[in-house]
């Protein structure tokens, strides 16, 4: 068991987990703070062991379109990038969603907007959960807060993407991408055989066998009535996902007077603040959404029942707070604390913010 425990960066864990999942291909372009994903894959040379293709494309636009091609043939393919690179991919991501193709996209977020900074941020929440590209679509969005989850969500992301025939995204950030901690990698699985791919993906374009009907993978439909039918089908899938796939973690919520909602690495920073506060008798609970879409509205509504206030902590100007407000309506005050541009809040700042908003709003001078 001890030998199975490795010490590695979150980015490295993603690369190892992709090979071990039996992924067929990775297409990407380097950008800080996620370059170790591509770097580790190149170092591990999986094309010589599992046969997985690893390719450094000429750009992010090329990467996502290679993903589209691989996915259309039923292969388990992925890409990774950081914020500006993921912006470049949005057209391709919309096409993947519209063509009902499974794929895994990893965004290790950095501070924006624009080319921004290389340091950690969570300011792509809107982009990941509310579209990003054009049209009515959703991605399944998983937010890891540990290196272990970076590894685990590769397999989960692929499984969900294939189950629902929709792209999934791991929305990480520079902290969990760059930090090292312990991880137990999943066991090595063989890549699917061509026969298995055909059986799992009867819709894929990978050669007609036995005179079967021609498969067409496209996002284009000039007949609007048909396009509306397609949209209705997408929406039915999204309702299914909302019903089945909401994931979150709740800590210290049973007796909480206040609630913090935070996702990804900042949730850990909040947990430290909560543990410090509990030593002083301040009871704060934590809800950490794991799926950002579908969002755990019900769990937050439930946890908010007996609290005096909710603090949304994000490494951005306030994005997830809109979903938290949707969850609780006006039943309880909701405020936001965050830092921007690549600055990461520390536990003390989180606690000070909660105190200022809810416990001691008008300190006596």
């Amino acid at each position: 068991m001890k030998d199975d425990i490795k010490l590695m960066k979150g980015n490295e864990a993603i690369a190892h987990a992709a090979i071990r999942y039996g992924a067929d291909g990775y297409f990407g372009y380097p950008i800080t703070p996620q370059s170790e994903v591509l770097e580790t894959l190149e170092a591990l040379m999986p094309w010589e062991t599992t046969g997985m293709v690893v390719l450094q494309a000429e750009s992010e636009v090329a990467s996502i379109n290679m993903v589209y091609g691989g996915a259309a043939s039923g292969k388990a393919v992925m890409t990774s990038s950081s914020s500006p690179g993921v912006s470049l991919m949005q057209e391709g991501i919309s096409y993947l969603a519209a063509s009902e193709l499974p794929a895994l996209i990893v965004n290790v977020m950095r501070g924006g907007p624009g080319l921004g900074t290389i340091h950690p941020s969570q300011s792509d929440y809107f982009q990941a959960t509310k579209g990003g590209g054009h049209g009515d679509y959703h991605l399944i969005v998983l937010a890891p807060s540990t290196v272990q989850e970076m590894a685990d969500f590769v397999g989960l992301g692929f499984d969900l993407a294939f189950k629902y025939r929709t792209p999934a995204m791991i929305l990480a950030d520079g902290i969990v991408g760059q930090m090292m901690e312990k991880v137990v990698l999943p066991p090595q699985r063989p890549r699917r055989t061509d026969e298995e791919v055909r059986r799992q993906c009867p819709w894929a374009v990978n050669g007609r066998e036995g005179g079967r009907k021609r498969n067409v993978v496209t996002s284009l439909e000039l007949d609007s009535a048909m396009m509306e039918k397609n949209n209705e089908r997408f929406q039915r899938t999204y309702r299914e996902i909302e019903k089945n796939e909401v994931r979150y973690e709740a800590k210290y919520t049973e007796d909480a007077d206040y609630l913090i909602v935070a996702f990804g690495s900042i949730a850990r920073i909040c947990l430290k603040a909560i543990e410090e506060a509990r030593k002083e008798g301040i009871k704060i609970g934590l809800i950490r959404p794991i799926t950002l879409w579908p969002f755990p509205y019900e769990a937050i509504r439930e946890a908010a029942r007996n609290v005096k206030g909710i603090l949304c902590v994000e490494i951005n100007a306030g994005q997830m707070i809109e979903d938290v407000r949707l969850a609780v309506s006006d039943s309880v005050p909701v405020t936001h604390f965050g830092r921007m541009g690549g600055i990461v809040p520390n536990p003390q700042e989180v606690l000070d913010s909660l105190r200022k908003d809810f416990i001691n709003p008008n300190p006596q001078k």
């Binding site: 425990i5 010490l7 340091h119 760059q178 090292m180 901690e181 690495s265």
Partner: protein, 178 residues
Amino acid sequence: MTDEIIIAGFGGQGVLSMGKILAYAALENDMEVTWMPSYGPEQRGGTANVTVILSDEAISSPVLDTYDTAVILNQQSLDKFESKVKPGGVLIYDPYGIHHAPTRTDIKVVPVEAMEATIETGQAKSYNMILLGALLKMRPDVPVEAVVRGLKKALPERHHHLIPANEAAIRKGMELVK
């Protein structure tokens, strides 16, 4: 036991790798550990730092605002982190190139003449291991044997012949703490 450590200095002084070796030693010692670097162009100069947390319990935040232990390798880092050491904590620093020595009296301040020792032995690359030795003397979080095992994991195989020299530097660092 939890030790929240900041190691800070110039890029190229071995700040991140000192933290990495400590992290691998903790792994070898069956402890929980996080290693969070200030990543980016610091590797080519400028200040670099790394937060290493060693604990018997699960670790929540890898990002901290105060520390139990600081290992400081330059003036900029001393200016930045002296005030961030918790009362009763330990501040280890190399006086080489330091113009304003630490002034706090509520923490244990430990000067370690690591640069001087490095100049004496002529082994410039063992500089960070001398300071790691000083850290292990002040904070025996992990035994030196675990650090040596950690070195095997942290270093690529082609550098394993340097492990005895690294171990010697660690022991030298332990001796330098008065």
